[in-house]
Symmetry: C3
Subunit: 241 residues, 3 copies
């Protein structure tokens, strides 16, 4: 059985390794795939987006995802929609600050070992779950106002926008646009991939997860545009001179 | 068989991956759990503390821990208390600078594959081992002088102090204290967890490994207090006004 | 079967984890060893050098290495010398920007699962492959002009130089030399390892991969010398006073 594991734990500390240990003690034969532990600390939205875009590439199994600013409060601990309240499937005593180790990793491991989810605790009404608002883009006449979702290692800037959104504005590969972010304004080209524009050009393209992203061919767009998750980006179809 | 692996190698270079390769060539069926490779370069004390606090969560097996400022000198290479001097269980030629690869990973792998520890070399007297001094906290009248052991990704500042130490000063959840670190002085609350205080408040709590730590609810204490491992921290029970 | 995996993907994003997922879906029993994902973004030469120096320590199997500034262009996708053009062994639709996920990881997994390389696509003439120039050192009379290849976590500065090169200049353990890098000039000693010189001394030694490297005993040479990959380093045998 496979457990995938995503968190904001980072790799500098022992948090991820400790959870691996906990899992392997409970379910020795389990194969753990670390999707990433580079979610920014406590950024639930980023965690949810990365989980959603990567799960289609993962084997069937148990999916352990922990981004938990509410650790230690009375927020409910779920798997799917079961509350984790059966002490038999926890590490006791449960700490107040590392539920990844004491609550979530053991639950994932017991599920991987064949325990029925209903054993872990009572089912929860879907309506009882808190839902995340993914910020929506605003499409106007000749422009779109979007938001930066994620900035990756290569400086690619993922937006909450699809190429369908761009198509509604008449933006398609080859179209020249203006991109405004913070106090900066750039010309950019829509393209199928960054290799379609000249080195150093700013490009709008559909990234590998189906979102529109901003890149610079052979450069680092996030650095040049000082783009950070949450930033507002305005894309305007450029008026012909 | 499981090998856990902790080091100061970091993940930027190939050191960890190379040791994994060496292990898998010798003991192909082995499951390697990376506890962490984020120990600060050559910080033996941090390595020892993290190893001690994480081993209880690890499966039984072989534990490979390498933080080795003395690589290339004549310091002895041990497993438990055996000196690694049998060339049959090394990668020859043994380099002068990467004993993780040439000496320690092979020994761990051979142990995992069933080799008797006594095969690796002669036993060593426990007295011949160098012991690490963990800095001790000083408990005075109405104050305690402690040290920062570890600062984690979330900015939590772990001290060489337990809640029993605090209890001897009459500090328990709800008590207001003064914390002095460097030239800065803060009010803080003792609490069971950081979620028990208001957002932005400084809190003293028992962390998941049983040490007292300083945190800021929804903030980064290490950054705000400019705390680094080794720093001195004075905690004073606040006189009533 | 083992797949080793080296890339410039870093560990901040999900790229590595996603490729692991893709591999495990295709070849569930595969053991993936991450050599490193810390290759500097798009530094093909560094990737090639690290791959060459680590493969001898890896188990037999499939070796997946992705450092791909040309992703999305018409550069050919190879394994060994087969072009990856058989759609049966890809994830369709193949994105324009993440061939690690859609092309290379699936090919590695299918090979690990027993698919014949010839199934993946037509063989390529070795002459059709682009070769990388490893910068050569210039050995003059009483000096050598070398280049920085890699700087590691510990600040060790690997050069494109072997101890044989040094021996041709009469430099051997114990010899005092001058090292010039950028506008800075240092005295250094050739030695078998950094532990052979005094703390704080600059040392030229043969590193664990057989290259000459510059280190500072108990210090960080890369920081002190502000050394970066590609920098020119001149080593001069010191004239007797």
């Amino acid at each position: 059985m496979t457990i995938t594991f995503l968190s904001d734990f980072g790799l500098q500390d022992d948090f991820v390794g400790t959870c691996h240990g906990v899992i392997k003690r409970i379910a020795p034969g389990t194969d753990v795939i670390d999707i990433t532990h580079g979610i920014e600390p406590q950024q639930i939205l980023q965690g949810a987006l990365v989980l959603a875009s990567t799960l289609p590439y993962m084997p069937e199994g148990v999916h352990l995802a922990v981004v938990d600013p509410g650790v230690g409060t009375d927020r409910k601990a779920l798997t799917g929609a079961w509350e984790l309240d059966n002490p038999a499937y926890r590490l006791e005593p449960v700490s107040r600050t590392f539920h990844g180790r004491d609550l979530f990793a053991p639950a994932a491991a017991h599920l991987a070992a064949g325990v029925d989810p209903a054993e872990l605790g009572p089912p929860l009404e879907p309506d009882a779950l808190v839902r995340i608002d993914v910020p929506a883009a605003t499409i106007g006449v000749g422009f779109v106002l979007a938001h930066v979702l994620i900035v990756d290692r290569f400086g690619n800037v993922q937006l909450n926008l699809t190429t369908d959104d761009l198509a509604r504005l008449g933006i398609e590969p080859g179209t020249r646009v203006e991109v405004e972010i913070g106090l900066q304004r750039f010309y950019a080209y829509a393209a199928s991939t960054f290799a379609d524009v000249r080195v150093g050009d700013v490009v709008l393209y559909e990234d590998a997860y189906g979102n529109v992203a901003i890149a610079i061919n052979a450069g680092n767009a996030a650095e040049m545009l000082a783009a950070r998750p949450g930033d507002t980006v305005t894309i305007t179809v450029r008026a012909r001179a």
